[in-house]
């Protein structure tokens, strides 16, 4: 039974990722500027060369056919060749994914450490000045453009993961703080405190089980936020990760690269969120 459910989840994830790839390909294909190349404006090129440049993307005109051919090749291990970089997509992704995983992973860890520390402190202390201060800090961070945070990390020579943490933290913090505030205001918590239970016991026995599904969902969502934050951070900090690659691919309308990156990101997002869902269901004692 459990095996069947896992297989069902897995198939759903795979099917969704493949649909995501097709939708991404369609969005890219029909966006303006698809079959253009900066080189077309080079005055050295003659008409025949410019025409040849345009024809490099003829294969991609029928997007559905192109997508299915790409999938066929992918099942044989060939993810295609990047138009803008002239290198195999598989090589590009293989070389860059570890850096992005490390960056995003570290950023999420730092963000969640800060989120939980500050949100729990706000819930425990129940001091309006502390709440106002933490609101001001997270509010200020929300107002700083991601590019500026990335530049600050370059300026101060701190790891890019810290910039990602500072981008993701204020979003996570606000949700977490509100969820904790609501949980701590429940009558059974007041009763528990009145009966003299320690804060740690209250937290682990009476608060966490109640809000765990929401926090897990937030955790899953923060993975997507962190992946999105990786784009400006990698681009500005000169980190050769998937985020930097995604931005270059978007500017160049590099379809083979964009399809594969979208499928990869969709898979990661789905895995993160599905795991959060499954654990949440288990904690609630519901069927997965």
């Amino acid at each position: 039974m459990l095996g069947q459910r896992i297989a069902r989840h897995g198939l759903t994830i795979l099917a969704t990722a493949l649909v995501g790839g097709l939708l991404a390909a369609t969005l890219v294909r029909f966006a303006p500027g698809f079959d253009t190349d900066e080189a077309q404006l080079d005055p050295h090129l003659n008409s025949a060369s410019i025409q040849a440049l345009r024809e490099t993307r003829t294969e991609q005109n029928n997007i559905v056919r192109f997508y299915f051919h790409s999938l066929q090749r992918a099942f044989k291990g060939d993810l295609g060749t990047s138009i803008s970089l002239g290198q195999p997509v598989s090589t590009l992704l293989r070389d860059r994914t570890p850096l992005t995983l490390r960056l995003v992973g570290m950023g999420l860890l730092l963000s969640w450490a800060a989120t939980l520390a500050m949100a729990l402190s706000a819930a425990w202390l129940r001091v309006s000045a502390y709440d106002a201060l933490s609101t001001a800090i997270s509010g200020t961070l929300l107002c700083i453009p991601a590019a500026v945070l990335a530049l600050l990390s370059v300026l101060w020579n701190v790891p890019g993961a810290l910039a990602i943490a500072l981008i993701v933290f204020p979003r996570d913090y606000r949700y977490a703080r509100n969820l904790l505030a609501k949980a701590y205001s429940q009558p059974h918590i007041i009763t528990a405190r009145a009966k003299g239970l320690s804060e740690l016991r209250i937290l682990f026995w009476h608060v966490v089980p109640v809000i765990a599904p929401q926090l897990l969902a937030l955790g899953g969502v923060s993975v997507s936020l962190a992946i999105g934050a990786a784009i400006p951070v990698e681009a500005l900090c000169g980190l050769a990760g998937v985020g930097q690659l995604a931005w270059q691919a978007a500017l160049a309308r590099d379809l083979p690269l964009l399809i594969n990156i979208t499928i990869m990101v969709t898979l990661v997002t789905l895995l993160a969120n599905s795991s959060a869902d499954v654990i949440g269901h288990v904690l609630r004692g519901q069927e997965v």
């Binding site: 966006a31 949700y175 205001s185 990101v265 609630r284």
Partner: protein
């Protein structure tokens, strides 16, 4: 009303008042270029200095406040409502509904919406009025910005679905949408307020970033987002602290919003 909330209310009223009085406080307007005094520091003529082509920064902050303060919360409200409907309902209904809605939400989170926005720009005429450009931009942000909160709301609503008070209401004969709206939705307010509050600065910044696609406010109209983009020249801005005023103002306004709204959050909790 506690002291913090009073201060926050006063700040918001002051900012709103100043922006409405922009015509009086900065009669030359936001577009006039004082080219002889381009990129200058604060002076009696230009309290916050001028930008790179000589436009008075104080005037641009005042006029930009109108656009950002009006439209960003509106877009935030739209995204919050969509998150509530999609995420909240999906969690409440559970089962295949929740799975399907969350799969769609995850897709939304992963797709490169940049290309949809590029297409939207291409469909708009080049000579679109500034009002339409800004409205379309914030509408798109509102329509695309609901996904993060939808997931959390789905999880929240799911946890309330089988709670005692909902069972009690069901046993009393309350069903369907009425049950969702009256008994489940109010318990989602903490997440909804968080979503609303986070979305405001996020949309203000996103509007500026969409300028690279030809969306957002059009020149010479200012917005907080376009003013904040000046900070990306960080290397030189460090020695020009007056350029941080829009950031400080935005942070103060967003924090004030939150402090004022925290009363609603307490009531919701």
């Amino acid at each position: 009303m506690n002291v913090w909330r009073r201060v926050a209310c006063a700040v918001l009223l002051l900012v709103a008042g100043l922006s409405l009085a922009a015509n009086v406080l900065a009669p030359a307007g936001y577009a006039k270029q004082y080219r002889e005094a381009a990129d200058s520091g604060p002076s009696s003529a230009h309290w916050l200095g001028t930008d790179e082509i000589g436009r008075d920064r104080f005037a641009r902050v005042l006029y930009g406040t109108r656009i950002s303060l009006l439209l960003a919360p509106a877009a935030a409200l739209l995204s919050t409502l969509m998150a509530a409907l999609i995420g909240g309902l999906a969690g409440y209904l559970g089962g295949a509904w929740a799975r399907g809605a969350m799969a769609v939400t995850d897709l939304f989170l992963s797709l490169p919406w940049l290309f949809l926005l590029i297409t939207v720009r291409a469909l708009m005429p080049l000579n679109v009025s500034p009002v339409v450009s800004v409205l379309v931009t914030f509408l798109m942000l509102g329509l695309l910005g609901w996904t993060s909160a939808a997931r959390v709301l789905c999880a929240s609503a799911g946890s309330f679905r089988d709670s005692d008070f909902v069972r009690q209401a069901r046993a009393s004969g309350v069903r369907g949408l009425r049950l969702f709206w009256i008994h489940v939705m109010p318990n989602l307010k903490p997440v909804l307020y968080a979503q609303f509050w986070i979305s405001i600065p996020a949309f203000i910044l996103s509007e500026a970033n969409l300028g690279i696609l030809g969306l957002g406010v059009v020149e010479p109209m200012p917005s907080w987002g376009s003013l904040l983009k000046e900070l990306e020249g960080l290397v030189s801005v460090g020695s020009e602290p007056w350029k941080f005023v829009p950031l400080i103002l935005l942070a103060v306004v967003v924090t004030s919003f939150q402090i004022v709204m925290s009363k609603q959050e307490e009531v919701a909790a």
